[in-house]
Amino acid sequence: MSATASTAPRPFGVRIKLTDRIGEPLLRILTSLAGLLVVVLLGWIAGTVFYQASPAISRFQLGFITSQTWDSTHGIFGAADFIYGTVVSSFIALLIATPTAIAISVYLTELAPRVIRRPVAILVELLAAIPSVILGLWGILILGPFMGNHLEPFLHSFLGWIPLFGGIPSPFGMLPAALILTIMALPIITSITREVFQTTPTELKEGAYALGATRWEMVRTAVLPVAKPGITGAVILGLGRALGEAIAVTQVIGNATQIKASLFAPAGTLAAQIASEYQSANPGLWQASLLYLAAILLVISLIVNIVARLIVRRSKVS
């Protein structure tokens, strides 16, 4: 400071400047409050959702989870259809996204020419930047009709004897929703898997090559085993993304309250149901039941995210 330069040298810590005396604790307090806010916010969100849902929780209790009725005229509500839809659509999405993400990561870390590795990685991650409402718009007007007119009849004619592919092809349903969720989960899983692959010790890879392994054998024996916990964490994070997507799913899934074996049939998910009925639900039991759905979704996504973060963290530490 220029002010101290003109005065005679002074012993350490004799006088603390007034601004320091105010500024130091002020910044400490402000930043601690901000930190506290983050923790409080989590509890506040959970508390508010459960409080709003309480009329439905006390009315239907845990039977809500297994009840299949969603009848707003008679005021009887249950979440089973939506839990089923959420689980199935997310499961299909992960079933497609996981191997694809691993394959892309292998390509990006082992196969691709160095110059294109970063650009391709950025392009894949940009998939995550597409707003879900636009993906949903594309889903309704392009993907859905394509599936209803071409892909689903095709699957039906070959695999129609499996109940999954029985039923009438339609532009709205479980399958288009699952594909949209695949597109959303893919960049998340890929970016973490790729990072984990990059941390494979070089000695392991070179060891495998020295033993005569082909490139794929090297990946299978050196890269994948080490990356397993990281991949698991990445997949669960992708699951968290898929479970909670409301907008794009409500646009393409058809929002039906039913459980059908056929993947072509319209269905509903927890998040999509909340999004689709938010305006029509009047205050009272209906709204509280929607919030009960939100509470279930919140609990599931908290568990999924906590588990995923713990796994990812541990695999990065080791």
């Binding site: 603390i16 320091d20 500024g23 910044l27 930043t31 409050l33 901000a34 930190g35 806010l37 983050v38 923790v39 989590l42 506040w44 969100i45 959702v49 694809t100 394959a103 892309i104 292998v106 390509y107 990006l108 196969l111 950025i122 392009l123 894949v124 940009l126 998939l127 930047a129 597409i130 707003p131 409402v133 636009i134 993906l135 594309w138 309704i140 007007l141 597109i183 960049p187 082909t214 794929w216 054998e217 994070l237 968290g240 479970l243 909670g244 409301a246 907008i247 646009q251 998040a271 909340i274 999004a275 938010y278 305006q279 205050p283 939100a294 979704l297 996504s301 908290l302 995210n305 973060r309």
Partner: protein, 298 residues
């Protein structure tokens, strides 16, 4: 690989049993991995190109500068929704970025490692909460019993934006060399001056790009706005955040569910503007992010 004891060097170097099969497996796995990468990029391009082709015809100056006209009439645009979105995202950013940076300062400058870990964890969890639930939360706190408002929407978006900006700010602050801080502290500067004069200016580039990424993320968020700023009068321009504000994501959402092709055309055009904005910001932020990080590292 089973070896038969002592063999001549020529035997060792010769292709082992099943070499042909291993080669084929290797080659096909390589091809599959390449196809997967091509497929992912193709999907991205497919979506962008669809939006471009479908959106471009309806996109013109009127679309950006005129308010919607009553159903059935020709002309009009979505000026009110563009203005509303800009205000909502602007307010959300004004709310979330300062808090996010304070959180980041707390965890990397003041908090004990244990507390810092807990807060980082909470930020990650907050980031993982479905955005529709954030909307439900703000609905319960601010909207219920009253009316929807731009403020409610902006705060909901701010909660979505907070963990994104805070996590990226933390990463950047952690990259600021410890030697810089120590040098400043050794010169007798107080911690808060070190933070404000040394750490923040050094990390400024990274902090800004983190904020830009946050903007790119919330500009397209629909779910938090459904419960907080979706019931608006469709025709007028609103600049007062105490009323529900028209905005682009909710407009695209409602137009996409309409059966009318004219509505679809408008939805595509709005989607085109939104996707260009979001992708442009993402690419710019990513490029700068990488640059400011490598600058800090060197």
């Amino acid at each position: 690989m089973e070896s038969s004891g002592l063999t001549s060097p020529a035997r060792i170097l010769a292709p082992g049993p099943g070499a042909q099969r291993r080669k084929v497996v290797n080659r096909s796995m390589e091809v599959i991995c390449t196809i997967a990468a091509v497929l992912a990029v193709a999907v991205l391009l497919l979506v962008i190109i669809s939006v471009l082709i479908k959106g471009a015809p309806a996109l013109n100056i009127d679309f950006l500068t005129k308010n919607p006209v009553p159903f059935g009439q020709k002309g009009g645009g979505l000026a009110n929704a563009f203005v509303g979105s800009a205000i909502l995202v602007g307010l959300a950013t004004l709310i979330s970025v300062p808090i996010a940076i304070l959180v980041a300062i707390f965890t990397s400058e003041f908090a004990s490692p244990r507390v810092a870990t807990v807060i980082r964890f909470c930020l990650d969890i907050l980031n993982g909460i479905p955005t529709i639930i954030i909307g439900v939360f703000i609905f319960g706190v601010l909207v219920i019993g009253g009316t929807q408002s731009g403020w409610a929407g902006a705060i909901a978006l701010a909660i979505v934006e907070l963990p994104i900006v805070a996590r990226s700010a933390q990463e950047v602050l952690d990259l600021v060399p410890g030697s810089l801080r120590e040098a400043a502290l050794a010169l007798g500067l107080k911690r808060w001056r070190v933070v404000l004069r040394i750490v923040l200016p050094t990390a400024a580039g990274g902090l800004i790009t983190g904020a830009v990424l946050g903007v790119a993320r919330v500009a397209g968020e629909t779910a938090p706005l459904l419960f907080t700023s979706s019931i608006f009068s469709n025709f007028g321009l609103t600049t007062n955040p105490s009323q529900a504000m028209p905005n682009i994501p909710v407009t695209i959402f409602t137009l996409s569910e309409s059966p009318s092709p004219q509505d679809h055309a408008e939805a595509w055009a709005a989607a085109l503007v939104l996707i260009l904005f979001v992708l442009l910001l993402s690419v710019i932020a990513r490029t700068f992010h990488e640059r400011s990080r490598s600058k800090l590292r060197s």
